[in-house]
């Protein structure tokens, strides 16, 4: 059920300095970029920040820049459509372009931003419906009781909370070794996907290491995988418009028919994008083919701890990993 939004004060600063000042002045200030995730929270009256800081008018946050190392710097306010349709992104990082093109609908991609997509909150329905769960500061996980509906939830690394990362682009960015450029209260910092996305063991109330007064300025995709073979695939209940049940992103380089280097990451199976290190170390130096796919399927989901209703994600994950390897043939 949605409602009119609560009362809030809205600021639309035109510079980063003004935005920082506003965040400093208001303890519960909430940044909105495209608002596609935020307004949903407000309409359900689950989150009610008293101050909104709309960062859309800050010029530095927009656009895609080429970098000296062959990589790209993508401003946080760049829309998902701009990412999906950018010639530069398609030429160098097709896995990212593909991931962005698979998010939601044209309407959402046109206004939803890359920064908002990686910083969005989880879609666990209990949490989003306002249940007082661990993530909401309570002391129960409603998605992990004997009768809970948890087909969308975790296979790995649950720690009280079993919610998963919903972001399609986050998975591609993690596979491509992207770093996240953040302006904090005192200084700028740049962190890897491993440090940007955090699990409930690190902080159960946040999905990323962004803190109050942190503004994500942009995402740097290094030249490392530019132009290398890349793969992205997403399985959802509907083939469009829906959140992933499992998605996968891979970047790889071949040498003389064998896999020389590879990076493979799965999404929607744990709270953060999950790097498939077992698969990576198994396939480096090997020749793709049916035999290798069989082995890949054996290790892709090792260690998975399914809940009551999400066992189906295990074969999904195994098959996606095998299909990624097949794309190298």
């Amino acid at each position: 059920m949605t409602d009119v939004m609560h009362n809030f004060e809205l600021y639309q600063p035109a510079s980063l300095a003004d935005a920082q000042e506003l965040l400093g002045d208001h303890d519960d200030a909430w940044i909105i970029a495209g608002g596609k995730d935020s307004l949903d929270w407000f309409k359900h009256r689950v989150k009610q920040p008293s101050v909104l800081v709309d960062i859309a008018a800050i010029p530095e946050l927009h656009g895609i820049r080429e970098e000296a190392d062959g990589g790209l710097y993508i401003g946080a306010m760049t829309t998902l459509t701009e990412v999906a349709e950018s010639d530069l992104v398609n030429a160098r990082f097709p896995a990212l372009a593909m991931a962005a093109s698979k998010v939601a609908s044209p309407q959402i991609r046109n206004a939803g931003t890359l920064g908002g997509n990686v910083a969005q909150d989880t879609r666990c329905t209990y949490y989003r419906d306002g249940f007082p769960c661990y993530r909401a500061g309570g002391n129960t996980c409603y998605a992990n009781t004997p009768t809970a509906m948890n087909r969308e939830h975790t296979l790995f690394e649950a720690s009280r909370c079993v919610a998963v990362t919903p972001s399609d682009t986050g998975v591609a960015l993690a596979a491509l070794g992207a770093t996240f450029h953040i302006q904090g209260r005192r200084r700028d910092r740049e962190v890897s996907a491993d440090e940007f996305f955090i699990g409930p063991d690190v902080d159960i109330e946040r999905m990323t290491s962004l803190e109050h007064r942190d503004i994500l300025l942009g995402i740097r995709v290094p030249g490392t995988w530019a132009g290398a073979h890349q793969y992205f695939e997403k399985v959802a209940d509907r083939n469009a418009w829906d959140f992933a049940l499992v998605n996968i992103a891979m970047a790889a380089r071949m040498e003389g028919g064998a896999i020389a280097e590879v990076s493979m990451v799965c999404g929607a199976v744990q709270c953060t994008p999950r790097r498939l290190t077992d698969v990576e170390s198994l396939i480096v130096g090997e020749t793709p083919g049916e035999e290798l796919e069989t082995l890949v399927k054996r290790v892709a989901s090792s260690g998975a701890k399914p809940l009551n209703y999400n066992h189906f994600k295990i074969p999904l994950m195994e098959n996606l990993a095998a299909r990624a390897v097949r794309s190298l043939v």
Partner: protein, 160 residues
């Protein structure tokens, strides 16, 4: 919070209104501008009934704040026909009976128009993928897709 004075262009006309910051563009169009063609199906970005174009870009007006439209151009379903001359998409929706209750129709028309502007000769798959964010609980979509394909063909002929 006090109301914000918003100046926009809606379907080519200069429009001004006072918006509460928490009102969506959809609320503002319907309640302040008096254009009720744009519908609210879900309010959460799922159904596309509220589709409009802002600065020529297709968006869900239920997830845009009204004040964000300040200084921008907005195009709604009301601007689609040329007076009494229906847009080819509108005519084809009628010919193909691509609607029953009609609640989803304005959103589909606005979204389809945006598709044809960027892709005048879409494949059926492209049409279906593009319209995935527009839900219809009556027609089963086939007639909508056929109407869009047919309108596209007619518009290509006219342009030739």
């Amino acid at each position: 919070m006090s109301k914000v004075h918003v100046t926009t262009t809606v379907n080519g006309d200069a429009v001004e209104f006072l918006a509460d910051p928490r009102e969506t563009l959809l609320d503002c169009l319907r309640d302040h501008v008096g254009l009720t063609g744009t519908k609210e199906g879900c309010g959460t970005g799922d159904c596309g009934a509220c589709s409009v174009e802002m600065e020529g870009v297709l968006v869900c007006s239920c997830l845009v704040l009204g004040v964000e439209a300040n200084g921008k151009r907005v195009d709604t379903i009301e601007g689609m026909s040329d007076g009494h001359d229906l847009h080819p998409l509108q005519r084809k929706f009628i010919e193909h009976a691509a609607l029953q209750c009609g609640f989803c129709t304005p959103g589909f028309l606005v979204a389809a128009k945006a598709l044809l502007a960027r892709s005048p000769d879409p494949t059926e798959e492209e049409v279906r993928y593009w319209l995935a964010g527009n839900l219809c609980r009556c027609t089963g979509y086939d007639k909508i897709v056929r109407a869009v394909m047919d309108a596209a063909a007619e518009m290509r002929q006219e342009a030739a």
